[in-house]
């Protein structure tokens, strides 16, 4: 993985997290970041197919991370 890949994965995780929030603006931002991370990944990669498979698999872990963040927030409250 290059540093760009880490950046796109971080972007993807941010996108999923914003999508999970209740404010409409945040959701729109998340909705924008998610496809943006995919587009950037596809544009910068040498192999589009590999990038898409990686993005789909990484999405699951972005969702799990987000759920864990929400769980931690609920505990802290």
């Amino acid at each position: 993985m290059t540093e760009y890949d880490y950046f796109y994965t971080a972007l993807q995780t941010c996108g999923v997290f914003l999508l999970s929030l209740s404010q409409a603006g945040m959701r729109w931002a998340g909705g924008f970041l998610l496809p943006a991370s995919l587009c950037l990944d596809v544009i910068s990669t040498e192999n589009t197919a590999f990038a898409i498979v990686f993005w789909v698999c990484a999405l699951a872990f972005a969702v799990i991370t987000t759920a864990l963040v929400h769980t931690a927030r609920r505990w802290l409250r």
Binding site: S20, V53, F54, C57, A60, I64, H70, R74
Partner: protein
């Protein structure tokens, strides 16, 4: 009874559909048959869903019932297949860990394969074929398979000498790989059961999507320490998060074994499934032996030419048909290092002269689609980060299946105990906790059995099944909660043992196996502690 009839009728409908599509589609026979197979594989679960909606009231209510009804036996089957498949993602790494005599690093696949040819020419000249997987950085040894007096033999061969004597006799990661689709059962039963399990998983996932319709909310909801609610949250969260992966892996798994479970489309154009498979990959066909003895041409130039022609793809496998016959043929299969589609670039050489007979590259669109689906399942293309994501997604599927099995049992036990349910709950402990503990015993046996033990690879497998059998017996005799606790402790002890046996942790695989087993040990200890807390009423 009604449900069984719906499933059978849906199968009959899908079979008819596949036969019809293959017969009617105006395309070449191979294309039409493959299209028919794809239609049948997608059609069976969909037709079953429609059938269940017809015999039960309301589509969503019907899907919820059917999802719940999928049953404990299907769940166990999917669980053990998923567990072995998840481990198979790191098949070469496990194989390397299982052979500490070898060290990871750059190897010359051409030189290693030449050495393997030299050893096989002396020790297995009369085999009907040799199947060799060349050495590579991830698995720096040649993996050879051949038949001897009707017995199929598999051995790792030293990359320098070509002999197996310096390497311990073990299946390594290949045990999990083969168990994943053969379940240690004779052909074709294991593969048939695995194919049905894959389609059952597609069906369960599709009905699950309808049943858990609050998909967006389920994505981010996990409420810990709330009993059944937490289990359902974990089931939904893990299921929804990796849903695209789960659907893909289940469907592609069914596709890889499609000829067994849906052979009907092939009958529209071919006398049997074997004739279709020959037409699907004619460049892999084996010529008839002539009975006249001959020696193979020097293999070095053949492999050098193959390596040159397969520059970006790499070599996946080498088949040598009739190695000591005049009709000897060397077939070199390309790998898919540079794309997702499984390697379909095939080179054929005349064994006696080493002359290139053909250089074929698959271009039929439907066959390429099949290669993409197969390539997605086996993930040869995947770089390290993607392999870890495959592994993690497999773990998520284990969580979905394990929590689903628990929910299935608890829901029924809440309505009242019966001998059958109590037995099922105990067997569930033996399967869900027993399978990983038994698989961990494979790693321990690999490092603890004497290196010179006769039939060592078989003994390792016997250890796995003996341990599993004993754990099932233990689980049957104890209350389920006690069984979970004991197996969690055993799992933690084994995982720590594996970590210790990985010493001196100088290689990346040793560190990797050690870290994963330490994580597993931590999970087992945490599970044990939380079960104790609940039991003590804390």
């Amino acid at each position: 009874m009604k449900s069984f009839a719906v499933i059978l009728l849906a199968y009959a409908g899908a079979a008819l559909l596949s036969y019809g599509v293959a017969g009617v589609l105006p395309a070449s026979p191979v294309t039409a048959v493959l299209a028919g197979v794809f239609v049948a594989l997608a059609g069976w679960p969909l037709l079953a869903m429609l059938g269940f909606a017809r015999v039960r009231t309301g589509f969503r209510a019907a899907m919820t019932q059917v999802h719940d009804m999928a049953g404990i036996f299907t769940g166990w089957l999917i669980y053990v297949i998923t567990l072995s498949g998840t481990l198979s993602v790191f098949r070469p790494e496990i194989s390397l860990w299982a052979r500490p005599e070898l060290r990871a690093g750059a190897v010359d696949p051409v030189a290693a394969t030449s050495a393997a040819f030299g050893w096989l020419s002396q020790h297995a000249p009369h085999a009907s074929a040799w199947y060799i997987t060349p050495a590579r950085a991830r698995a720096p040894f040649s993996w050879a398979a051949w038949d001897e007096n009707g017995v199929f033999i598999q051995r790792a061969l030293d990359p320098i000498t070509g002999a197996p004597d310096t390497i311990r006799d073990t299946l390594g990661g290949d045990f999990f790989y083969r168990f994943h689709f053969e379940l240690q059962l004779p052909y074709p039963w294991g593969r048939l059961i695995a194919a049905i399990a894959a389609l059952a998983l597609v069906f369960v996932l599709l009905t699950g999507i309808v049943a858990h319709r609050r998909i967006f909310l389920d994505l981010f909801t996990f409420r810990p320490k709330k009993g059944q609610r937490s289990w359902l949250d974990a089931h939904n969260l893990a299921g929804v998060a990796a849903l695209p992966f789960h659907l893909t892996i289940a469907f592609t798994g069914a596709v890889t074994l499609a000829s067994l479970v849906m052979p009907w489309a092939a009958l529209a154009h071919y006398p049997d499934a074997a004739a279709f498979e020959s037409a699907l990959a004619p460049s892999l066909s084996s010529p008839e032996a002539t009975g006249t003895a001959a020696t193979l041409a020097p293999i070095g130039p053949v492999l050098a030419e193959a390596a040159e022609r397969l520059k970006t793809e790499g070599m996946n496998q080498i088949y040598v048909y009739n190695p000591s016959d005049k009709a000897a043929t060397i077939v070199v299969l390309g790998d898919n290092n540079d794309r997702i589609a499984f390697g379909t670039h095939v080179l054929r050489f005349e064994g006696k002269t080493g002359k290139l007979l053909s250089d074929t590259h698959e271009e039929r669109p439907v066959v390429t689609a099949f290669a993409v689906l197969y390539g997605l399942h086996v993930a040869h293309f995947a770089p390290l980060a993607t392999r870890w994501l495959y592994f993690g997604s497999g773990v998520l599927l284990l969580i979905v299946t394990g929590s689903g099995l628990r929910l299935w049992l608890r829901r029924r036990l809440r309505r009242g105990d019966s001998v059958r349910l109590v037995l099922l709950e105990r067997i569930n402990v033996g399967v869900v906790a027993g399978a990983p503990v038994a698989f961990a015993a494979f790693f321990l046996a690999n490092h603890l059995l004497p290196v010179t033990l006769a039939n060592r690879a078989e003994r390792e497998i016997q250890v796995v099944f003996a341990v599993w059998f004993l754990l099932l017996l233990l689980a049957l005799t104890l209350p389920a909660r006690k069984g979970w606790q004991i197996l969690a402790v055993l799992g933690a002890a084994e995982a720590i043992g594996i970590s210790v046996l990985s010493a001196p942790w100088g290689e990346r695989v040793e560190c990797g196996v050690s870290l994963v087993s330490l994580c597993l040990a931590a999970c087992c200890i945490q599970a044990f502690r939380s079960m104790r807390r609940v039991h003590d009423g804390v």
